[in-house]
Symmetry: C2
Subunit: 183 residues, 2 copies
Amino acid sequence: MSVRTLCLAILNFEDATGYEIRKQSTEGKYRYFFDASYGSIYPTLARLEAEGLVTVREEAQSGKPARKVYSITPAGRAAFIAALSEPVARDTFRSPFLLVAMCADQVGPGAVRNAIDARLGYLREELGLMETMQGECPNEATRFILDYGRTCVAHDIAFLESNRARLEEIATGPTKDLPQAAE
Amino acid sequence: MSVRTLCLAILNFEDATGYEIRKQSTEGKYRYFFDASYGSIYPTLARLEAEGLVTVREEAQSGKPARKVYSITPAGRAAFIAALSEPVARDTFRSPFLLVAMCADQVGPGAVRNAIDARLGYLREELGLMETMQGECPNEATRFILDYGRTCVAHDIAFLESNRARLEEIATGPTKDLPQAAE
DNA sequence: ATCTTGATATATCGGTTCGATATATTGATG
DNA sequence: CATCAATATATCGAACCGATATATCAAGAT
């Protein structure tokens, strides 16, 4: 799934600047399943324009730098729908946390505990954001995605809370005869 | 999280070729949280060797091309542990399926149904693989990861089975007065 | 016999993307 | 004053992707 398709998706809903596209992919409803950097968005928009799939107009605004607002063309809409109608690729997922978990015995208990706490921290924050966004959600498709995500994150949190001790024990090492030093 | 760290992780467990590292990242225990392409693995190994973090020896073998077996150095081990002890980055996740879901009303019911079926297909397959791998799993950390993944995938499947109708309805459009054509 | 396929292996290409950074403008804060 | 944040555009070098190429052999199909 490419940044190209994401840009077309966002522009298909409404005109946007590169900055707004980036903002939506990190803070808006797209954030749950995509993220794209400036380094990819701007070159992608330039290519889409060169191919006639989007047009751009410049808007001056007082107090801020000028904006370049991108609009999708009919050819762009067609390309977007075509892209969506292809067989759907699998999700991609990478988890530095799980790499730490796999190597827990080498990392040590402190770092593992920190990693678990940090993870729970951002998962809880995410859950809160999802619940907030859902409260103001006008659109059934977005609601579906938020439900999906919310229940997954809630599950994630529950698993971690129930099982963190296992991981911490691996990180600490086999049961020792000596009492643990006071921390 | 980089392919670099993944290569060091795999080599920290045991010597491996580029081909084996790729195999482990797509089929072995690392597959649940990382995937890396040949296009990144080979250049990464070359860089790691140039930096003295791994060494390579060539092994002839009859009936097959010669292998280049990589081993981690003590400096490589230290770099690996250091990398793991950094603050852990968040998971990254991309889902073409969820983009299709968000645009369901434009994609149409056939494509949405296909996407759901395909997704359920590979999730079920994944679940089966996890259960198999867990049955033969000697290592507690790996068992933790498989439990984590298994329960997430099971949840994913359950959600999709319970809620697919919602998505299909969005894709079909608002309730129509006309009866649906027979398919 | 030949051809195709699959497995084990190494490797690279052009294109895309990342993460960091630069620049510009303004307003708010220390 | 300097710093930070927000709104904006843009680019760099490095990393990575997806596809492909090459090599060797064995097994199966024609």
